[in-house]
Amino acid sequence: MAKADIINANTEVEKQYTTLNLGPTHPATHGIFQNVLTMDGEVIIKAEPTIGYIHRAFEKLAERRPFYQITPITDRMNYCSAPINNIAWHMTVEKLIGADIPKRVQYLRVIIMELARISDHLICNTVIAVDTGALTGFVYLFQFRELIYEIYEEICGARLTTNIGRIGGFERDFNDKAWAKIERFLREFPEALKEFENLVKRNRIFMDRTIGAGPITAERALSYSFSGPNLRAAGVDYDVRAMNPYSSYEDFDFTIPVGVSGDTYDRFMVRQEEMWQSMRIIRQAIDKLPEGPHFAQVPEFYLPPKEAVYNNMEALIYHFKIVMGETDVPKGEVYHCVEGGNGELGFYLISDGGRTPFRLHMRRPCFIYYQAYPEMITGTNISDAILTMSSMNVIAGELDA
């Protein structure tokens, strides 16, 4: 492809570049962000992104709310895999207060987080296929996202913005219906995923479209602080689950897929393989699930059961204090990170001993790696730029917070 030649050509003809506004409302930008592209025909010379069209001031909002009321805000960051954000926030607070979480809670959390990861990667991969023109995958695989939503509903009551679990564990143990639904998902999903994979993985058209589209080298990716599937597609095997294991991930056996050239095909295949590995982890977690309580002993944060509230004075006082948000938290600063759907999702929490955080900074992976987008698309065609954007899985809620 003579991409670079067109830019370096020394012609005497006077050139006029067109400016194209890939505006905030555009069917191909899956989310609200704008790019003003300067183009020479079909080739992009310069790109200038503008974000902030859905800035909702999460960090300022968090300074106003008691700790458990911040969970619904974290939902709305990466809304395609909301449970991961919720559980990451709960783990941050548990680190701050020094809570000891039982093994059963950790395994249940792993199951939920891996289901959320599958849910996130399903959207990204099917949307990459849609952008190349293959709509079938989207329509068929969204049925399985409905199954995942049903599992969330059984556990916490909500489909998308789940607000799942509590500081200290889960509100209720998984009942039989939830286990039946999880088993049904694990039984039916592999076949559908294999079908989708066979449609696109070795498909000549898909491979021609995606191989070489929007590449990035490992050095540039590290300099831009990439993380998650985008970094692994570039060749660096950095996964928070393996490097800083949390919530008993060290008990599970899974491989981390790593790509070679960091282009769209590699990102697609890394996410695809991660879905298979997630199913493996869920299977292991179900098989090795220990018995035990579904919550930790943190009475200051975990609502007591209703029978105790009506019979026991202490439980009544705890219930009142928690609901009114009057619990004081120890002073300190803590950073906790998990492997979100897009990379290292971190919460940096400073508490000054009051009932709300003094400062909560969210390390959002989408925000950090989207700044490399102009560099990745300079010199490519506009159709490759669209594919690059959808393969980077930029979610507007996480971008702007």
């Binding site: 902030g52 300022k60 300074e63 602080s225 990439f226 950095y238 900074h361 950090i368 700044q371």
Partner: protein
């Protein structure tokens, strides 16, 4: 991170930049250095190139406003992927005129992180290629994350008095 590794990292930094360290602490086992503002970029470059330390990944950088001490702190969090060490560096800038050099010469990813810190706290990063607001509207004059500004928009009308019978 156990204490031998922490001692090692403190030793590496103390060797060259003893005078810049204000204090060292380790809340929740996470090594944190409070440093002077003047040579922060040299310190980070040193940590980047030092063959024992190799802190070549910038996890995040953010601003923190301490209204009582009238300071705005900048927190840099670095990660050494080869050794799996994480450290935190903090510098303190005066509230009226927070100025510090940019980190984009070392890490390309610091570009938008610094723009976000400028947008929220008003910290000027000298040498930044494109320092302007990123998340808020372009013509905003205040720096909203500072503690003196309220969360809500004071001119909003959604709690209409007649709907509440007032």
């Amino acid at each position: 991170m156990d204490s031998t590794i922490q001692e090692k990292i403190i030793g590496i930094l103390r060797d060259k930049f003893e005078s810049e360290i204000l204090s060292v602490e380790s809340p929740y086992n996470f090594l944190t250095f409070n440093l002077r503002q003047e040579k922060i970029i040299q310190i980070i470059e040193f940590l980047y190139t030092n063959p024992q330390a190799r802190f070549q990944y910038l996890t995040t950088l953010c601003g923190i406003h301490y209204p009582e001490q009238k300071q705005i702190a900048i927190m840099y969090q670095l990660h050494s992927l080869t050794n799996n060490w994480r450290i935190r560096l903090k510098i303190f800038l005066p509230e009226e005129n927070p100025v510090t050099p940019t980190l984009t010469t070392v890490f390309a990813g610091a570009n938008w992180m610094e723009r976000e810190t400028y947008d929220f706290f008003g910290v000027r990063f000298t040498g930044h290629p494109d320092l302007r607001r990123i998340l808020n509207v372009e013509d905003m004059i205040i720096f909203p994350m500072r503690k003196e500004y309220p969360l809500e928009d004071q001119t909003r009308e959604d709690k209409k008095d007649f709907m509440f019978g007032r």
